[in-house]
Amino acid sequence: MNRWLTAVRLTVKNGIRYIPLLQNLIARELKKKYRRSVLGYVWCVLNPLLVMLIMTVVFSRMFRYDIPNFPVYLFAGRMMFSFVTDCSGGVMKSIVMNGPLMRKTRIPYYVFPLASTGSAVVNFGFHLIAFAIVLIFTGTPVSWHVIAFPAVCLEMFLFSFGFGLLLAVCNVYVRDTDYIYAVFTTAWLYLTPLFYPLALLPDTLRAVVTNLNPAYFFVEMSRDVFLAHQWPSGGMLLRGAAVSAVFLAIGLFAYSKAKKNLILYI
C-alpha cells in the first residue's frame, strides 16, 4: 500500500512538470485539425450545428416520433454520445500514433492519452457553444438544474478516458482494435436513443440499454437537465459513477501493466 502511494506521489510530481507540454499537445491537435481550412475554428461550432440541422430536418420530416423540442433532444444526446466515442477513439489511437516520438524522446507515455482527452474536452466546449445557440433559437429556457451538468460531464470524461486507455493498450498489441472499434461504435450509435425515443425499443432491449449502455447514462442525464428541467436521477448518476470508476480502474491497470513493454510493440 505504502509503495503504491509513493508511486502515485512520484507520478504526480513528475506529471506536473509535463503540464506545459500537455497544453502544447492539446493545442497541436486542434491546430492540425483546422489549420488548413478557411473558416478555421469556426468549424468547431458550425459543424455540429449543421449536422444537427440536417438530422432535425431528416428525422422530423421522414420519421414522426413526436418528440417535443426535437432539436434540443437530438443535440443534447448527440453531443454526449459523440464525446464518448470521439474521446475514447482518440485516446485509443494516441499511443500508436505517437510511436515515432516515443522512440526518439523520453516522455511518460500517459501524456498522449491525456492530451487526446484534453482536446476532446475542448471540442466538447465548442459543442456546448453550438448547443447554447440551439437553446436560444428554439427558445428553450434553462433552469438552475444545469448546475448538476458538470458532475455528469466529469463522469463522462473519466469513463471515456478509462475506456480509451484500455483500447489504446489493446491497439498497441493488436492493431485491428481500431477497425473493430469502428464497427462497434456503429452498433453503439443505433443502440443509443439519439434520434428515436427510448420507448420505441422492445422491453428487453430497453432494459439492456438503460442499464448497460454507458453512453446512454450520460445522454439521458443531459436531457433531464436541459429538456425535462429536473435533476438527473440518482440511479443514473450512480450508474455513471460506477461505470467511470470501473473503466478508469481497468484502463489504468492495463496501462500500468503494459507500459514497460509498449515500446517493443510500437
Binding site: 506545459p20 507540454l21 499537445l25 497541436r28 489549420r35 516520438l101 524522446t105 515500446i263
Partner: protein, 244 residues
Amino acid sequence: MADPIIQIKDATVRFNLDAQRHKSLPEHLRGFLKRGSRFQEFFALKGVSLTVNRGESWGIIGRNGSGKSTLLKLVTGILQPYTGTVAVSGTVAPLLELGAGFDDELTGRENIMMNGLILGMTKKQVMDSFDDIVSFSELEQFLDVPVRNYSSGMRARLGFAVATCARADILISDEVLSTGDKVFQKKCEERMQDLLSGGTTLLFVSHSADAVLRVCDRAMWLDDGKSVMTGSAQDVVDAYLNRN
C-alpha cells in the same frame, strides 16, 4: 576526480522480432495457439558495460546494426535493459537518428517550443533561447513553414540547435551531423566543444572516424552487440580502422 554520471553494468537488450512484424488478428490467434513460436528473441546488446564520468566525451563506433543506437536509447531511458543495470545521474538531451521527433505538420517555430518542452525545458527557457536557436540553425526564413517541407539537413540543424540549448547534463548525438553540410558540421563541432568545456557529458555516434577523433577523447567499439574495445579515442579508432 572520477565522477561517474552514466554507469552501465553488463546490460543486455532483448527485442522480440515477432512483435515487430505486422500481424493481423488471425495470425495472432494462430500464434496464440502454437505458443512456442510467439517469441522470437533477438539480443541487440549482449552484456555491455560502460562507465562515463562527468565531462567526458565518448565516441561510439561500429558497423551498421552493431547496437550503437540501442546503447544510446538505453542511456536516454527509452529502452530498459533486459538484464544488467543502467544508472544515469543527470538530465539527458537525446538527438537520435535524424530529427528529434518533430511533428511534420507543425511549423519550425511551433516545433521549437514542442521539442524544448519534450526535452524538459520550461516555456520561459525555450523563449529565452529562442533567438539563439534560430540564429544557430540559420532558419530565420523558414520559421513559419511546416517542418514537412524542410530538407533533412534543415531538420538536423533545428534538432541540434534545440537539444544543445536544453543545457542538459548529457548530450547524445546519433549521426545527427551526417546530413549537415561541411560548414554546419564545423559549427556543430564547435558548439559541442563549448558545451564540453562547460562540463557537459557527450555521447557521440558517428561513422566518420575523423569527427570522432576531433570531438571525443574516449571511445567504445561495438560489434554485434558486444563491446570489443574501450579506451582513448585514438587507440580505439585505430584498432577499428585496422580490423580485418
